[in-house]
């Protein structure tokens, strides 16, 4: 039978099949952070068991951490408590722990790839929905709940029904100023936030083969925003070059063995997907969201759509626009904004900072804008300094903060105040996501840069 990339990775990890039930799937690598793991560790304690394979689990602190003065004790008591719990649990069970200040610390989905934890053909889980990021390497990677975190810690397995398969093809080329983030927001706007629920997505076509590994991570990261369990892209030479030599990647004879497996991963010609979509790269423009879910995105040049469907949905739509204080038919260009957030596991990598700095270079931050520039990891932070990007940012009136999830979910102090508008490179524009009452416009790093310079929604292509 012809197999898809997804089938090949999945089938090679099934230990046990339950009739009329889920498959038992072996998990190669597991990442944990402070927020969704404490109750799982408590569960182990109650059951009086230890982590089965501590060398397969990696812990980093990111969700709850401050992005200023990380060398000082964390002020918020509850956050400090959670960070301490992660440290204690990791030590007790012999898990690698990259806490605040550790040189490898950063957002879980940024550090995974950086240190070769993320590998092609692997199964990777984490108690965070954007685990889908790691699919960029041709891994099956998905977010899990805390009960499942406990399951993986105690048995290195998870029980899952095999999802259906979907392939999304984007052919042709992207125009200048159109980024991987725009590709993802475009696809979500077409499929809606539930369009891929129940499916695992493979992204295919020229646009993805030409994309850098970091761009692929951005796209796969956002798979969850259309409801998919995860997204993946077939590994190619670019993938192997990226992975080779990283600390936790296989080496020597194991690398050869792995390559044999990885080379066979791409979907067989003629493999059948349960659902398939086709888009053209040239139809995609810089995108921006205007509502309260990531599916409510449009080309930055278009007007907010009018709604004309049945009543229940219309009320939801209206509620969303009311929250944003926007009206149907208004244009997004020129809308005033107050905050800009560059960061998160969606767009907090070095290429994102390069792209942002290219726009702001030689210009000045708008006075009315508060900008939070938060690298995804210490490694990214170091590259920003080494490449001279920090100087460009500083000259333009921006400051760099320390790594973490920050305003992506606003668990720390980086909260957008009620009623204020933020152009954000993160992944969710839900009500209150960036702080109670905050209003989020999701966009690419260069749309964020254009907004930071002009103080309003601006087409970045006018600044090239």
């Amino acid at each position: 039978m012809k197999k898809t990339l997804f089938d090949k990775v999945w089938d090679s990890h099934v230990i046990h099949k339950i009739t009329n039930g889920p498959d038992v799937l072996f998990i190669d690598r597991h990442m944990v952070h402070e927020v969704t793991s404490p109750v799982a560790f408590l569960g182990l304690k109650k059951r009086k068991i230890k982590v089965l394979y501590p060398e397969r689990t990696f812990a980093t602190a990111d969700h709850n951490t401050p992005t200023l003065n990380q060398h000082l004790p964390v002020k918020d008591k509850l956050s400090a408590n959670q960070l301490k719990a992660l440290e204690n649990n990791s030590r007790e069970h012999g898990i690698s722990f990259w806490g605040l200040g550790h040189e490898k610390n950063g957002i879980v989905h940024v550090v995974g790839p950086e240190y070769g934890i993320t590998l092609p053909g692997a199964t990777i889980v984490c108690g965070d929905s954007h685990t889908s990021t790691h699919g960029a390497f041709g891994a099956i990677a998905f977010g899990i709940g805390t009960s499942e975190v406990e399951m993986v810690l105690s048995t290195q397995c998870i029980m899952q029904q095999k999802p259906k398969s979907m392939r999304i093809n984007v052919s042709g080329e992207l125009e200048k100023g159109v980024t991987p983030k725009d590709v993802a927001l475009y696809i979500i706007s077409k499929l809606s936030t539930s369009g891929a629920t129940g499916y695992f997505v493979e992204y295919a076509g020229n646009v993805f083969s030409q994309m850098s590994m970091e761009g692929r991570m951005t796209v796969c990261n956002l798979s969850i925003e259309m409801g998919a369990r995860g997204g993946m892209i077939a590994p190619d030479q670019k993938t192997f070059d990226y992975v080779k030599g990283r600390e936790f990647a296989p080496s020597g004879g194991n690398w050869e063995l792995a390559m044999e497996f990885w080379n066979n991963l791409p979907s067989d010609k003629g493999a059948i997907f349960d659902k398939e979509f086709h888009f053209e790269g040239k139809d995609i423009e810089p995108m921006i969201t205007y509502g309260t879910n990531p599916g409510m995105g449009i080309s930055i040049l278009k007007d907010i759509p009018k709604y004309n469907s049945d009543k229940g949905q219309k009320e939801t739509y209206k509620k969303s626009l009311d929250y944003m204080s926007y009206k149907e038919g208004e244009t997004m260009l020129g809308k005033q904004i107050d905050f800009v957030f560059l960061g998160s596991c969606t767009n907090g990598r070095i290429e994102d900072f390069r792209a942002f700095s290219e726009i702001v270079k030689g210009r000045k931050k708008a006075k009315n804008v508060t900008a939070w520039l938060v690298p995804g990891s210490h490694k990214v932070e170091k590259a920003i300094k080494d490449e001279g990007i920090l100087k460009i940012l500083n000259d333009a009136g921006f400051e760099l903060r320390e790594p973490g999830c920050s305003a992506c979910l606003a668990m720390n102090d980086d909260k957008v105040p009620p009623g204020k508008y933020a152009v954000s490179t993160s992944n969710r524009n839900f009500e209150g996501r960036q702080g109670p009452g905050s209003r989020t416009l999701l966009a690419s790093p260069i749309v964020a840069a254009a907004a930071a310079i002009t103080g309003k929604v601006t087409d970045p292509r006018t600044l090239f």
């Binding site: 072996f26 569960g43 509850l78 959670q82 792995a258 939801t316 969710r428 839900f430 009500e431 996501r433």
Partner: protein, 198 residues
């Protein structure tokens, strides 16, 4: 962790007729700082239940004394967004044992099943009827029968079958969880791990 067994639930229901209710609304991120599974019910739908000065938002359904019960009925695409199991905990802790919608986000559905909240997916027609009935007659009893996989609006005698995978159904009926099962096949897991090259 085992949880209460779920067999047949007969209860009034609380209508939340909104689509795409995401887990950030169910439990906002700032309430995820606990290291124990306690007290999440207080903050269920926090920003829809309370104003920023902690005063009660009277027009939100959880603050409406007309509606009570162990069944929460939500609009399409319920539970999208973050993987936080805290959302399911908050629902459970508040006192709901069952969530009904015409469509659930995947991770949320799994989380519910893992902690003893039954997600019941119904047709959109049934869902509209259900909302209509609860609004017109808030005392109306809904019966969720897990062994027979049916949900009934008793008052008007309307019922529908729902799907649940048999393994999960047995777990819910008995209050078992997956870890008990996996620990029993530990030697299979160890054999597999030995062969892994990653």
């Amino acid at each position: 962790m085992s949880y209460d067994k779920f067999q047949i639930l007969k209860s009034r229901a609380v209508p939340l007729q909104i689509e795409n209710v995401d887990t950030d609304q169910i439990i906002p991120a700032r309430f995820l700082k606990a290291t124990e599974r306690k007290g999440f019910g207080e903050n269920l739908f926090r920003d829809w239940r309370y104003n920023s000065d902690d005063s009660v938002k009277k027009d939100f359904v959880l603050n409406d004394d007309n509606f009570k019960g162990k069944i929460l009925v939500g609009g399409k695409n319920f539970g999208s967004g973050s993987s936080r199991e805290h959302a399911a905990w908050a629902i459970y802790d508040y006192g709901f044992r069952c969530v009904v919608s015409s469509f659930f986000a995947d991770i949320f559905r799994n989380n519910c099943l893992n902690i003893g909240v039954l997600p019941v997916q119904v047709s959109s027609q049934f869902l509209s009827k259900l909302f209509q009935e609860i609004y017109e007659n808030p005392n109306s009893k809904i019966e969720v029968d897990l062994p027979n996989q049916t949900i009934s609006i008793l008052n008007i005698g309307l019922n529908e079958k729902f799907e649940i995978n048999n393994y999960k159904k047995q777990n819910m009926l008995n209050g078992f969880d997956d870890i008990d099962y996996l620990i029993n096949i530990k030697s299979e897991i160890e054999d597999f791990a030995k062969k892994s090259i990653i």
